[in-house]
């Protein structure tokens, strides 16, 4: 799954996802990706976010909506992402998932749920302070 967040220089936000889902899914299964507020969410007045991972679990917690609402309440993007991961961890400590977050002034962050084989999450950033697409990494919590 790719989840993408874009903030235009004039402040317009957009978000999106595209995926072929999980392997060997039951015919007809849809995960979090195409559901607004789950796979991705954007609101010019607060920011935008996108999620990736076990879509059957993520879908139940609307992670990208929740992250945007945390940013609306003043949380920094990294903290907003971490709080979303923590919410899910309480119920599903071993879920596979990560969230990327960006606020309306262009700050960004990410968070992921630490698993034995998933200790950091890699994402891409390109903004006017960089002169090429840059790989960044966060340690999972």
């Amino acid at each position: 799954t790719i989840g993408m967040v874009v903030i235009h220089k004039l402040g317009q936000t957009a978000a999106g996802t595209s995926t072929n889902g999980i392997k060997f899914k039951i015919h007809g299964r849809v995960g979090d990706s195409p559901v607004p507020g789950a796979g991705a969410y954007a609101d010019d007045t607060a920011g935008a976010a996108a999620a990736t991972g076990d879509g059957d679990i993520l879908l139940r917690f609307l992670p990208s909506y929740q992250a945007v609402e945390y940013m609306r309440n003043g949380e920094e993007p990294t903290v907003a992402c971490q709080k979303v991961i923590s919410r899910i961890q309480k119920y599903y400590p071993n879920f596979f998932g990560a969230v990327i977050c960006a606020n309306v002034i262009g700050s960004y962050g990410a968070a992921c749920n630490r698993l034995p084989k998933f200790t950091h999450f890699t994402f891409m950033v390109y903004n006017s302070l960089k002169n090429h697409p840059t790989v960044e990494k966060v340690d999972c919590i």
Binding site: G11, N20, F24, I26, P34, A48, T122, N127
Partner: protein, 182 residues
């Protein structure tokens, strides 16, 4: 806002990031950038988790999900369980622009996509077919069933809930009394 514009995406899908950025540089909107970035991953089958030829379902078919959201007017277009159409994010954009709906799913979403000019084509590849046949050979492990018989951790389906009588037995008592009704 000194660092705007911003493109951010999950996983190290660099070509998607670049395509979105270039769309912005050439005057595209944030929505155009999301669509072009995600479409790159659909074409390049990013790590096998995006686009055609990946993640076959139990029947061996690849189905796609995509979403695009405009944060200025809170408009959304999405497709779920999209079958036989490669450019899922492109169809999602058409849902946003040409309907008042938010999410179209399954075979009907395919019909909508064809009406918008998208090509109906097989999304399987030799890679997805091999993935699926290997899975069958491994007795369908892993799978997403639970609380069913036969034991899904050992066998392929078809499955049904435990304790249920064989489905072709009537689930009500047949009396033959056509006047015994309420």
């Amino acid at each position: 806002s000194s660092s705007l514009p911003l493109v951010l995406n999950t996983w190290p899908f660099k070509n998607a990031t670049l395509a979105a950025w270039q769309t912005l540089l050439s005057g595209g909107s944030a929505l155009d950038a999301v669509e072009s970035g995600c479409a790159v991953c659909e074409r390049e089958q990013c790590d096998g988790s995006v686009g055609f030829g990946g993640s076959p379902d139990e029947l061996g078919e690849t189905t796609l999900d995509a979403l695009i959201m405009d944060g200025t007017v809170m408009n959304v277009g999405a497709v779920g369980d999209l079958r036989r159409i490669k450019n899922a994010i492109g169809v999602a954009r058409k849902v946003l622009e040409h309907t008042t709906h938010t999410l179209l799913v399954g075979e009907s979403a395919t019909i909508f996509a064809e009406s918008m000019g998208f090509i109906n084509e097989d999304l399987s590849t030799s890679a997805s077919e091999a993935l699926h046949s290997n899975w069958l050979a491994r007795k369908c492990q892993p799978n997403h069933w639970r609380n069913v018989v036969p034991d899904p951790s050992k066998h392929c389906g078809p499955y049904k809930p435990p304790g249920i009588s064989v489905l072709n037995e009537p689930t009500h008592k047949v009396t033959g009394d056509l006047h015994g009704h309420d």
